[in-house]
């Protein structure tokens, strides 16, 4: 396996671990950004350039900032007095470990039969545009409606209650 893959995977996994383990919530959000960046680099290594740049633009440029704003608006940067892990943390950890072991076992079992690397597909943005307007036009329109609904919904949900409906 390539050295680049090891480095990027290590970065992603460490970012993910830091995002769920750190005490300070804003540090968790910044570690999440590092994990997003690592995943974008993995996408680029898999020759999915459009998906990689879209990941950076949407996740790091918008979702990470959204998370940070929410943390600041809800005073998440103050550490709670009871600790940061809930009372039932052991059960959660056990479930996650069980899920990982099942997935890992499935992958390792199937490893000899997984397909090998084919020649790199030369996907141009032109082709993506044609596909989005041709074959995937219905999902595109539905996602547009979904995003509009989410926008309006988020604004209404987070609006001040005094001005909201009684």
């Amino acid at each position: 396996m390539g050295i680049a893959f090891y480095i990027i995977s290590a970065l992603t996994v460490c970012g993910g671990l830091a995002a769920v383990l750190l005490k300070n919530t804003v540090h968790c959000a910044l570690a999440l950004t590092v994990a997003f960046a690592g995943l974008a680099l993995l996408f680029l290594q898999l020759d999915a350039q459009f998906a990689g740049f879209a990941q950076i633009l949407v996740y790091i440029g918008a979702v990470a900032i959204l998370v940070v704003f929410a943390i600041l608006l809800t005073r998440g940067s103050d550490t709670p007095k009871d600790g940061v892990f809930s009372k039932t943390w052991l059960a959660g950890l056990a479930i996650a470990a069980a899920v990982f072991s099942v997935l890992g076992w499935a992958v390792l079992q199937a490893a000899p039969w997984l397909p090998h690397e084919t020649v790199a597909p030369n996907v141009t943005v032109n082709q993506i545009g044609d596909a989005l307007m041709g074959r995937y036009v219905l999902p595109l329109e539905i996602v547009a409606v979904l995003l509009t609904a989410a926008l309006v919904g988020a604004v209404i949900v987070a609006m001040h209650e005094k001005e909201g409906a009684k």
């Binding site: 396996m1 390539g2 893959f5 995977s9 996994v13 993910g16 995002a19 769920v20 968790c28 999440l32 994990a35 993995l42 996408f43 898999l46 999915a48 998906a51 879209a54 990941q55 949407v58 996740y59 979702v63 998370v67 929410a70 943390i71 608006l73 809800t74 998440g76 709670p80 892990f85 809930s86 059960a91 959660g92 996650a96 470990a97 990982f100 997935l103 890992g104 992958v107 390792l108 490893a111 997984l114 397909p115 090998h116 690397e117 084919t118 597909p121 996907v123 082709q127 596909a131 995937y136 996602v143 979904l146 995003l147 989410a150 926008l151 919904g153 988020a154 604004v155 949900v157 987070a158």
Partner: protein
């Protein structure tokens, strides 16, 4: 170029998914649960792209399209989820999930 086998990408995706799941299940703060959910969605995206790349017809772009739509939907879901967290904070004055455990507000 040294080829990385598909199993490598799938294992990384499984690991990130498990980390996200652990975070969503063990942390108190509601926002950290959402962070865990975002990590899980990202791991699933990585799976999609890896299978697209190593699959029989990468020129059909199905996997990448799926991942792009998944990114869009995840962004919408993060926005609504965080709006809900802010609204709950305004009502319950806390984001500690261990204390928001009653239906009566």
């Amino acid at each position: 170029m040294i080829a990385t086998p598909l199993a490598g990408y799938l294992l990384v995706a499984a690991l990130v998914f498990a980390i996200g799941l652990a975070g969503a299940l063990t942390r108190r703060n509601a926002i950290l649960v959402l962070i865990g959910i975002e990590l899980m969605l990202n791991a699933a995206n990585l799976n999609l792209i890896a299978f697209w790349r190593y699959g029989p017809h990468p020129e059909a772009m199905t996997g990448m399209m799926f991942a792009i739509f998944s990114i869009a939907v995840a962004a919408a879901e993060a926005a609504v989820g965080l709006g809900l967290v802010i609204s709950i904070y305004r009502h319950a004055k806390t984001t500690d999930l261990d204390q928001i455990n009653r239906m009566k507000g």
